[in-house]
Every structure is written in C-alpha cells, then in structure tokens.
Symmetry: C2
Subunit: 341 residues, 2 copies
C-alpha cells in the first residue's frame, strides 16, 4: 500500500548536475536554455522517468490536456470526430479528456467551467447549445474550437459541415426517385440564435429550401422532436398517423433514422418497400449490412482532425484571427431509399 | 480578448472578513472552523462566485475529478455503465472525465499515468487489459475500481457480471430450441492472467462448460477474433465456411453480433431463418426493432452505480479492505433465435 516515491524536479536537477530553474526552463522550452543543457536535462528526465505533476504544471503554464465536450455518449457520429482528434494528437504529450453532456445549458456551463477549473490547455465543444455569450466567455478563458455549430465569433474557431447543402442532397435524391410527399424529422428549436447556428436548424432549412426549389412547397411536412433514437421513433409515429402518410422520411441524423426504422417495424412496415428512409452522418450504423441506410457523409473524422489542428494553433498563438472551416457533405446511397412504389 | 479577473481566495477572505487560512479550512471541511465561520465563508464564496482552481486544489488535496477509462468509444454497452456513474454523481461537486483507449497495454499505461498526473481523486477502469502489476501500481497511487474484470486484489475493488453463468444461459436457451451445432465467437486471448480474469475468457469458458454439461462437447466450435463489429464479421465468415456450418452462433458481445448479422446479410442469409444469433450486453442496439437480438442483460447501469459508490467510499477511506461485487445476468429472448428449422 506504499506508493513508490515520485521522482521530483529536484532529482532531475541533481542527476543532470544543473539547477531546478534550468530544468524548468528546458521543460517550458523557455529562452536561455542552451542546446547542451537541453540534452543533459532531457536525458535525466528520460533516465529517471520523471513526469511532472499536471497539477503543478497547471499552476505554471501548460497541462497538456485537451478537453472535449460531447452532447451525449450514444450517437456514434461523435466517435468519428474523436477518432480524428486522437489520431492527430498521437505521439504528442497531449491527453484528451472527455465529458459527456446533456442537451441542457446548465449542464454545459458546469462542464465548461470544470474544464477551465482544471486548467485545460484548450477545449473542443461538439454541437454545444449554450448561449453565444457563454461560448464567448469560455473562449476568452481558454482556447476553444466549436465543432458542428455555425456562426462567427471573434473569440473561437469553428468547424462545420455545410448542413444546408447536405439536406438538399437528400431531397434531390428522393425527388429523382419520384417522391413528392417527403417528410423531415427535425430537432425542435425555438431559440433564435440556435435557429441560425445549429446544424439541425440548418438541415431543416435546407430541406424546406430544396422542397420549394423542386416546386414541392405544398408537401413540406416536419415532425419536430429530438436528435435521438426516441425522437426518431416518436417523429415517425406522428408522420405515419397523417391522413396521407409520406412516401419518404428524411431523418436529420442517423440516430434519428434508427428510431424511424424502429417505428416502421412496430407498424409492420419496412424500408424501402413501404417508405424510403434517409439519415445524416454516415455513422457505422448506417453502413451496417442489415440496415444499409442512405445518408449524408459529413466526414466526422476530418472534422475532428481540423478541429484539433486549429486548437493547437490557437494554443500556440492565442491572439490570432479566428478561422471558420466548412466541409462539403456527400450523399451515400444505400438500400433504404428506392423509387416510389 | 481580456478575461475578466478571476476571484481569488484573498477576495473571499476580505469579503467574509476572515483570514485566507480560515477560508481554506472551511473549504477543506477541516477541524477548527466554527459553524459561524463556515456560514460567513460559504456566503462569501456564493456571492463572489468563487471557484478554486482545480490545479491549486490538486496540490492541496482533492480535485473532485473522477477519471473513467473506456476500452473504446463505439461499444454502446459502455454508455450504459457511464449512465450509472454520472447518475450517482449528479448533484455532487465531482466531474467525470473520460479517456478512451485502444485494447493496447501501452495505451492503457499512458492513460492511467495521465490520470494520476492530473491528480484525479479516483479512477474507474472499464475492462482494462493491463497486467495485474500495472493495475496494482495504479491502485496504489490513486483509489481505483476495476469494472468488467474478475480476480481479487488487495489494492482495488471490482464490479463484474457473472459472465460464466451468463454464457450458460445462452447455451441452455439454444439447446432448448433444439440446437446442437452451437458455435461461439470469442475475443482472442493468450495471456494466462487475462484468461482467468477477462469477461471474454469467462464467457468462452462458460460456453464450453455448458456445452459439455448438455453432452455437446463434440460440437464445441470457437472462432477466435475480437470483441468488435469487425471481429464478429470475420468470425462469422470463418464459421459459415465450415464443411458443416453451425445452426446457431453465440457472439460474445452485442457489438460482435452486429458483425455476425452483417456477414449473414452479405452471404444472403438471415437470422433466425437460416441461423440463430445471440449476443451479450443487452445494449440499445439489441432492443432496436428491426434487429431484435436475443442477448444477456448484464445491467451496465447497475455496474456503473456500484462502481462509483465503491470508489467514493474508497476515496473517503483509502485503507479499507477491498470489495468484489458480482452481479447476476438475465437472458433476454428476442427474435434472432428460434427453434432449429
């Protein structure tokens, strides 16, 4: 039960035959550490297996910790983004620590404050619903990149998919298959800022716009629930109960499409024989053979890669102008969509 | 771009009209802080919105951070465990920070060291594959609970499912449906300690034992891959290529069953018409209508709840004897298993 004594900076200094200040300088990559001193100190660090306490480093400067806030743990799209983040950090000293949230502003405040309190070097917020004011407050305290939320800010960088265009791709595809009665399941949103900035709102807008462009404005039909499996299930139940039910359902996310397929099965229907179904995200689930869901690839892995690149750049030069990266989505056609019967 | 100045312990002391030592005592719940002083200090903390830096707290004592290491981000069973953990911590000062690993010993060492370096108060390791020696080293540095790995240690608590019995439930069910040619897909394992301790090894053992108990020893047939969707896909391909293919496949985890169903679809087969398929974990995926997978409920939520309860208890009294909690699994019968054709 006795922890072995931890190697300290004093041990390293003694082993290298230099002062602790010199060790500290080398570790901070500060000016005034000669190449010879760097070599001696790095050798001592290596030989003794010295790992400075992150808490102690946090009081001095960097903690080599990147925080990632996820909206939830069950949407496999977020795992794609994380793959991109961790791939880029492989081989560096950075450690990613994640916190999963709650689709709840108070919860996001709690998590972001916890990350600031723990002196993280930078944070990536995935599809946050917080007020713009809170996001800016966070970004002023710690370098921040926001993924999956549109809108410019002088304080943080953004990485998004062109959700408006992506929704258009789905509608175009369904129209080409002969569908006119094409319904959409959106994530309910009333907040005016989020109605401009959230991917879900942009997808609903893109759907409406594309329907109108095809002269199908009269067939616009939106079930407003949530971007969860349960939301898809409830949305599909609403749509199936219409006097004239849709021939195609565009679910705003793959996880929503999963709920739609669940509801169809329960009603004794199937896709695409009875109703065509499309999702958005191209998650592992969509590619799953027995489902084979038509969806939109928004390149989660690329989003993660870009986000962490921007973040490390911002950690290195806090004052630089902000950047907005917008990636182009691609339609992935699979077996859940077919010509109208 | 100017962060607002952070409220410090000095501001709190001035506002409350006490010394900084007194503030510190109240915050640590140390002896010698009178009830009056506690009220004054807590009021000042509240009014000023003081949040002590976690880094500073880390040097003094608690950081109110619980680390959770997950083997990966795509197995939905781990989300069930996390739900149990976060539910229990709701309303407390604790923040859960997760790191996802890699099915790789070196990666687990890196993550656990990162958690120790960041002065986490306690850590929960989910299905770690590290050597016993490394787990004990971690547990001596920080209170630790290991979830999903059998074996006793004087240093850490464990929470497991009775995997041996759970595998038996699946075999019993398939035998009752008339199956004899029942194959299993396991996670390949050669390390002798892990062959005793890992859930995957216990499930394979439980399968072998149950087959023998039913007089089906000659039909034991194991494809040895990994507990991933890809592992299930490859395992099923091996089993489908046998001169006499099995009539039922017991996949060691739901995510493995997902790969099995993928391979069946590709081969133009389906469950249960051609082959019965069962999984393990009862994840959200298993309950998904179009799949409706027979599986074993190992109560991930309960595992998480129990793990964090043990952990907080261990944080409070480090020296206490270790505890081992083993939960009993339940068979959940759905549509992917049926009487032999």
């Amino acid at each position: 039960m006795h922890p072995s004594r931890r190697v300290t900076i004093i041990d390293v200094a003694r082993h290298a035959g230099v002062s602790t200040t010199a060790v500290s300088k080398v570790m901070r990559n500060a000016y005034g550490a000669s190449p010879e001193m760097q070599i001696k100190v790095r050798a001592a660090i290596e030989e003794l297996g010295y790992r400075p306490s992150a808490a102690a480093r946090g009081l001095r400067g960097q903690t080599y910790t990147i925080g990632v806030m996820l909206p939830e743990m069950r949407n496999p799209f977020f795992a794609d983004i994380l793959d991109g983040v961790t791939e880029h950090l492989g081989g560096t000293d950075y450690q990613v620590l994640m916190a999963a949230c709650c689709n709840d502003e108070a919860g996001e405040v709690r998590i972001t404050e916890a990350m600031i309190d723990r002196s993280m070097d930078g944070i990536i917020l995935i599809a946050p619903i917080s007020s713009r004011r809170h996001l800016q407050k966070v970004a002023r305290a710690v370098p921040t990149v926001v993924v999956g939320r549109h809108g410019h800010s002088p304080d943080y960088d953004t990485v998004t998919d062109d959700d408006f265009a992506g929704a258009g791709l789905v509608v175009d595809h369904l129209v080409a298959l002969g569908h006119r009665r094409i319904a959409h399941i959106e994530h309910a949103e009333k907040n005016p800022v989020r109605l401009k900035e959230m991917p879900n709102a942009q997808r609903a807008d893109g759907y409406r716009h594309a329907m109108q462009a095809h002269g199908l404005g009269d067939y616009i039909d939106i079930a407003s629930t949530t971007y969860t499996q349960q939301g898809g299930y409830l949305g599909a139940q609403q749509l199936l109960a219409r006097p004239q039910r849709p021939t195609a359902i565009f679910a705003g996310a793959d996880i929503v499409a999963m709920g739609v397929l669940d509801a169809l099965t329960e009603a004794g229907l199937s896709a695409p024989q009875d109703i065509s179904v499309a999702g958005y995200d191209d998650t592992m689930f969509a590619a799953f053979g027995p489902i084979s869901l038509t969806t939109v690839d928004q390149a989660g892995h690329q989003m993660g890669l870009n986000a962490v690149r921007l973040l490390l750049d911002r950690v290195a030069s806090r004052g630089r102008p902000t950047a907005q990266i917008k990636l182009s989505p691609t339609l992935i056609t699979r077996r859940t969509t077919a010509p109208i019967p």
